[in-house]
Symmetry: C3
Subunit: 282 residues, 3 copies
């Protein structure tokens, strides 16, 4: 039976919103272990939440229940879903916040147009995962507000899941999901890999969507804005100055030793980064 | 036996103050479940803490123990109290921080003059609640500092309560309490309801002391500063721009879809809001 | 068997770094009680972390496991250690972050030159404490990144410790440690006690390395920058204005009642403070 419930939101920590969710969970399952992943997602930044959840969830026990509330459309008709993968449960609005989780299980084949698009899960994906549209109000906290489904729907559903209620009790199985593209970097005409900054951490490190394993030996530098960074380091203190680091998340980072790369580069989430490669001589 | 202990303070999260309280609690009751409600109350803002606690405590299990430390007079002769209601325990300085809790159980009849006033609990209130003046140092952490009773008095008292120590062991029953007025909005001569902003949340929503149920069908707009907001919405993304929302706390909120209402309006805690009503034609 | 694991880092709370450590711990010991001491240590400020840990750890249950990750040299050859004292376990990089803990057990005799110096533990210290160099990768999270040993080495080691694995399983006993001087204030030629600001708290109180017990009756004032503060108070609200308070940490604080002393004095961590004494008449 799952026992750990994690929370990822854009609620911040100054209000009691997160506490209300915890109170609701503990009222249903007093033995639940609740862990905050982050409550500092940029307000309504679904992509940042999707990325951070994707990185963090791997380190939690199997069958953990991950609740993700970055939910600009709360109160509208957007769906609420449970996603069950071989590794974990996810309870979230159906707004693309689970895109990286889905894409890792089975990379989505077709190019997806901006903005958020509803995709049909392919047969081989459906064998590995289940998606439920949460509709059974029996498991909700009443009365349900129109602005705080985290407290009134997602938290109590997670708590009942942690008590072992089977997912089919919460609603019907569905086979479509909303996905946010682009999920992965792409090659330009010169074979450079073009990605972007997905997250800026507390130290000012820029975490990109280019994976460490994409750092082939032909790669010679990363370009961001007007800066070309030619140092590829193993750890932060290895040398002075700006450097590219294969990060602990599995993604390339741009860092400034003894400094804040984001401030120095005036970089922000969404900025383009380009991994330039050595041209082969003809 | 109560098992959940919540903490509400103005300590912030950059220091170890909250951690020291948790260490003291776990040293006494290693099985206590401790939940942070908020540590971002404005320094020494007793009214904000009173409101936030009042909203959040409803979502916790029955018999939860709510510790509230916003305590500008720590070290002086202000009393420390335990309040037992039909729902929960509260452990706090007697400085008005429990005003909303008391007022909800039995609305205080008489107008109360500013500032904090000591009121006598009426007979029908005393049947439902018990108030203890904490004086028995047996249950304190020694030595008791003069500046951190959260760690040395309130936390250990809460921990012993969570082990089932009866409240009369902590001190004598009293029947007066300090209350902070005004607790509720009031009508002006034109029958408009005049309240004020009690809290500004992480998204910039202004939470007022006007309740959703006060939003009669005659209400047509809210005035704040020079702004008259005529839209009353059901949820944040419903329309663009400023709107009044019946909030998830049971209180009216002023919000700006895809924006920060507090920044836009340059509003702050304590600002007046006025719910204007439709004049009946004669 | 130890049961509480505390975390002190400079990771902040906006990222999932702390959550990843908690996930790793709970994957190994699902029953661990994890408490955050602080994640707001200034980036790479080993001295501030050393001080805060030293103050906070006293309030936790015996045999608690304190994990401290302020680790500018992560990925380099700096050692990772377990320190076992009569009171608790500490799991940390060997960069001086345990200096105050060691110094309290047995004040270091010899003057230590700046910067961080490796000192040999004296015989009488070695009878009371054990230091292990963490080298046994069996207990690490694989693969080990070069930038996040908190997640890959320190967290899993703490989790295995909490399950009762004996410390000698994690590596060999060593008898040197890196220590950061100066740990204590010193007397100037006029017998004034010269210390410095170790921490600035959320309220703007300046916490110094001068202990309350150093406040002899000859002490008449504290000088910081151009300010001479002559009031020595017992608690914050006792009088208006700047005052010296014997703080709840056991260290003298400079505070401003109803204000922020740090902003008012434009003080920062590391600033000199001088406790001036009454000159004896000849």
């Amino acid at each position: 039976m799952p026992s750990v419930i994690t929370l990822t939101t854009d609620f911040g920590l100054s209000d009691a919103y997160v506490a209300c969710m915890k109170g609701v969970i503990l009222s249903i399952n007093p033995k639940a272990t609740i862990v905050d992943i982050s409550h500092s997602i940029e307000p309504q930044n679904v992509v940042q939440a999707a990325f951070m959840l994707h990185i963090a969830h791997r380190y939690f026990p199997n069958n953990a229940i991950h609740v993700v509330i970055v939910d600009p459309e709360v109160g509208s008709k957007r769906r609420a879903i449970i996603l069950l993968t071989p590794l974990a449960y996810f309870v979230a609005p159906d707004n693309g916040v689970l895109s990286y989780i889905i894409n890792e299980l089975h990379p989505l084949r077709d190019p997806i147009a901006h903005p958020t698009s509803r995709v049909h899960l392919r047969k081989e994906i459906k064998e590995n995962i289940k998606v439920i549209s949460i509709t059974n109000s029996t498991f909700w906290h009443q009365p349900v507000s129109s602005t705080f489904h985290g407290r009134d729907i997602f938290a109590p559903v997670a708590a009942h899941l942690s008590l072992g209620v089977p997912i089919q009790k919460f609603g019907k199985r569905i086979d479509t999901l909303n996905i946010i593209p682009p999920l992965t970097p792409d090659f330009d005409s010169a074979d450079n890999l073009v990605g972007h900054v997905l997250h800026i951490d507390h130290f000012g490190n820029l975490i990109t969507n280019i994976k460490n394993i994409d750092l082939s030996k032909d790669a010679i530098a990363i370009r961001i804005g007007r800066h070309l960074i030619k140092r590829i380091n193993r750890y932060y203190a290895e040398v002075e100055g700006l450097a590219v680091i294969p990060g602990s998340s599995g993604h390339l980072e741009i860092s400034l030793s003894n400094g804040n790369a984001a401030s120095f580069l005036r970089a922000k989430i969404g900025d383009q980064v380009k991994l330039t490669i050595q041209k082969k001589k003809l």
